[in-house]
């Protein structure tokens, strides 16, 4: 492709496709704009001007929702790459690209929130460039695994970019990296999903005994599996409404069977998770805490938002009831949010009275919403240009076939 041709192509692609004044745009655009202004205001004035963070509650919803929860939601990417590339269950191939893309964007946007959550954001590269390496810190480990995993996700998605730009040779090279990257990516995910749980373990005296256990990393890892898959189900439901016209027929037919299988997987892992929680509870001998306000809250989370959606998933999968499956997915997502919030500011320093506790400001919430909407915008922009739901171009399919033969 000649240079000026490439330039014109990129310029053409940058323009919005589709209607501009949709209800979604009308709501999200002002929020993104307001969010951007507030982020700027926070960088100029300091964290106190925008957030309700305090000396007692140093972490708020930017960490609890965007980072802790966002990363769990992105877990679908490593689970599905494991199923497709390692276990070779080709059935899930049709939803793989969208999931990887969603995972990648989640990391970029949600984990990107860290940038303005950091008090001294201009030092953000210090743990990377070695000023200095705090190898004793779980956060150091999480940081590195985060960054490497973002690169891994980008490589996993890159064949789609090459297809969009028509770079045939490049695509061949990039897709030859897939298996190695997937193996690398799953390992990185396992450790940083667990590592986020490792973070809260360092604060043992500050976390309510019902939530604190040395198994927190394990619990975070396991919950990221069904959190990610619930997100895949929910995202798929919405995407099929919005981008349904792009999806080819074969895919649509197999999609329902994929959802059923995902629901089974969710139900199974959630039961395992619940059982693990139960064991931890029995071993901790925390019976006396159950009959306290924190105990009721604990049961809301563990029974109301884990065990019940778990049963709904299983029921929905048995009876092919998609409404039930979607309901369960939403409940599960909500449960994960509550779980991560508990570790960061609800069951954290539970002994502090209500009026001194952290509650996010409207500005923190607007910025969080702006990040979510910006991620959706980016997702939509890419879907409309690159073959994510659409069939890849013919040459790409042939390349894959050749590569498969060559192995």
């Amino acid at each position: 492709m000649p240079m000026e041709g490439a330039g014109a192509f990129i310029c053409g692609e940058l323009k919005p496709k589709g209607k501009i004044f949709t209800p979604f745009n009308m709501i999200s655009a002002p929020i993104i704009l307001l969010g951007a202004v507030l982020i700027f205001y926070r960088l100029v004035k300091g964290l106190g001007a925008v957030t309700n963070l305090s000396q007692d509650f140093p972490w708020g919803i930017w960490i609890a929702f965007d980072v802790m929860t966002g990363v769990a939601f992105a877990g679908g990417a490593y689970v599905l790459t494991f199923v497709v590339y390692i276990l070779r269950a080709e059935k899930y191939h049709p939803i793989l690209r969208a999931t990887i893309l969603n995972g990648f964007l989640s990391y970029v946007f949600y984990a990107g929130t860290i940038f303005f959550d950091l008090g001294r954001w201009w030092n953000i590269l210090n743990p990377i460039i070695g000023n200095k390496f705090g190898v004793n810190s779980v956060l150091f480990l999480v940081t590195w695994h985060f960054i490497l995993y973002m690169i891994a996700l980008l490589i996993e998605f890159s064949p789609a970019i090459a297809e969009w730009l028509g770079l045939q040779r490049m695509r061949k090279i990039l897709s030859s990296l897939t298996l190695g990257t997937v193996i690398f990516g799953i390992t990185l995910s396992t450790l940083h999903q667990a590592g986020l749980g490792g973070l809260v373990m360092l604060a043992k005296p500050n976390i309510h005994p019902l939530w604190y256990t040395e198994f927190v990393p394990m619990l975070f890892f396991v919950s990221s599996i069904f959190a990610g898959l619930s997100m895949v189900i929910t995202e798929g439901t919405i995407s099929h409404q919005v981008f349904g016209h792009q999806v080819d027929k074969n895919h649509l037919n197999s999609y329902n069977s994929i959802v059923i299988s995902l629901a089974k997987a969710c139900g199974g892992t959630m039961f395992g998770y619940f059982f693990l929680k139960f064991l931890v509870f029995i071993h901790g001998k925390h019976w006396s805490f159950l009959n306290t306000p924190m105990g009721y809250w604990y049961m809301v989370e563990v029974i109301g938002l884990v065990l019940i959606p778990c049963f709904i998933f299983i029921h929905g999968a048995r009876h092919r009831n998609f409404t039930a499956i979607r309901t369960a997915a939403i409940m599960t997502i909500f449960g994960i949010i509550i779980n991560r919030f508990n570790y960061i500011f609800i069951a954290y320093k539970w002994y502090i009275p209500l009026h001194e506790r952290y509650f996010p400001t409207w500005m923190e919430i607007v910025i969080t919403l702006a990040i979510v909407f910006a991620e959706i915008w980016a997702f939509r922009w890419i879907i409309n240009r690159m073959p994510v739901f659409r069939r890849p171009p013919q040459w790409a399919l042939e390349q894959d076939r050749e590569q498969e033969k060559g192995r």
Binding site: L43, V44, K45, G46, G48, A49, T51, Q55, D56, P58, W59, Y85, I86, L87, R88, I114, D117, L118, G119, R120, W121, N123, I124, N126, P127, N131, K132, F133, G134, V135, N136, S137, V138, L139, F140, L141, W144, L148, L179, G180, V182, I183, F184, I186, T187, L191, A194, G195, G198, L199, M201, L202, A203, K204, P205, N206, E214, P217, Y348, R407
Partner: protein
């Protein structure tokens, strides 16, 4: 040997094999293979301060001395009602004295950073900005990124963050590290007119504390707060009433804080190495033969 490296009829050359797993292992090795390092000082003995709360009269000379030594605003000394509310350390006041009404009369307690022997904040810091010096003080460097993990994990809620500033710092007592290096003792200890505060090596301080309890068994509870709590702290306390009555948490346990994540950190290198090999193995085992 060759058969083991044969996939799907065609041989995989060593280069390809290395390409797949090599990047992963090298990438990981450089970050986490080191595992957690030692946080304890090796050669020197920690110094610290013994606080005998039975001697404190609440004159707050230590607060003034601290402010002057660290260029902080000097607290209001005229306010007679200052003890009515429990005060906390802040970004501009690194030590406070509080009054507790107890069955054995009023007890005044000075608090500040405890300078743990193995601090959670140091284990938390991903850029080693928070440091445990061999002489005992826990101090802070400029390469801090402001993540506030030190605040999140501190069992005594000590590190304070300048939320109002666009270029915020974490602030807390540094045991007058600059003065110590110059051969002086901490400003608060020097200013104390009641000899409530005693500066010395931890070993000497334990001995002194135990001697006081032994000589006057009815005047003290028989426990030195900070000798065992969270693995030991450089500031240790004597009291005539149980410590929970004078604002101390007595449920912290005796395990040093970094040990809570030590096990997890040790598993990381193993997972980093074993899991990729395991995944590669499964993927190869499942692949259909033509």
């Amino acid at each position: 040997m060759k058969n083991l490296l044969t996939f799907k009829g065609s041989k995989i050359d060593r280069r390809k094999f290395l390409k797949i797993i090599g990047t992963g292992i090298v990438g990981f090795g450089s970050t986490s293979l080191f595992g957690p390092g030692k946080l304890m000082a090796a050669n020197k003995e920690f110094t610290g301060v013994l606080v005998d709360t039975t001697r404190c009269i609440g004159c707050r000379s230590c607060e003034v001395a601290c402010a002057e030594a660290n260029n902080l605003p000097v607290p209001d000394m005229e306010d007679k009602n200052i003890f009515d509310k429990r005060r906390r350390e802040s970004t501009t006041q690194w030590t406070v004295v509080n009054r507790y009404r107890t069955g054995k009369g009023d007890v005044y307690v000075k608090t500040q950073c405890m300078h743990c022997s193995q601090p959670a904040c140091v284990a938390a810091c991903l850029v080693n900005a928070m440091k445990k010096n061999e002489e005992g003080p826990v101090t802070l460097d400029q390469n801090c990124i402001g993540c506030r993990f030190c605040m999140f994990s501190c069992p005594f809620n000590i590190p304070k963050f300048e939320y109002g500033s666009p270029a915020p710092k974490i602030e807390k007592c540094n045991l007058c590290w600059e003065r110590l290096k110059g051969g002086k003792i901490p400003a608060c200890v020097e200013a104390c007119p009641q000899e409530t505060l005693l500066f010395g090596t931890k070993r000497d301080l334990y001995e002194e504390g135990q001697t006081r309890i032994y000589k006057h068994p009815s005047e003290y509870v028989h426990h030195i707060y900070g000798q065992y709590e969270v693995g030991g702290t450089c500031w240790i306390y004597l009291s005539k009433v149980p410590f929970e009555q004078i604002g101390f948490r007595t449920d912290l346990g005796t395990k040093a804080m970094p040990e809570f994540t030590m096990g997890f950190l040790y598993t990381v290198p193993f997972v980093d190495i074993i899991l990729p090999l395991f995944l590669l193995g499964i993927s190869r085992a499942i692949r259909k033969e033509d």
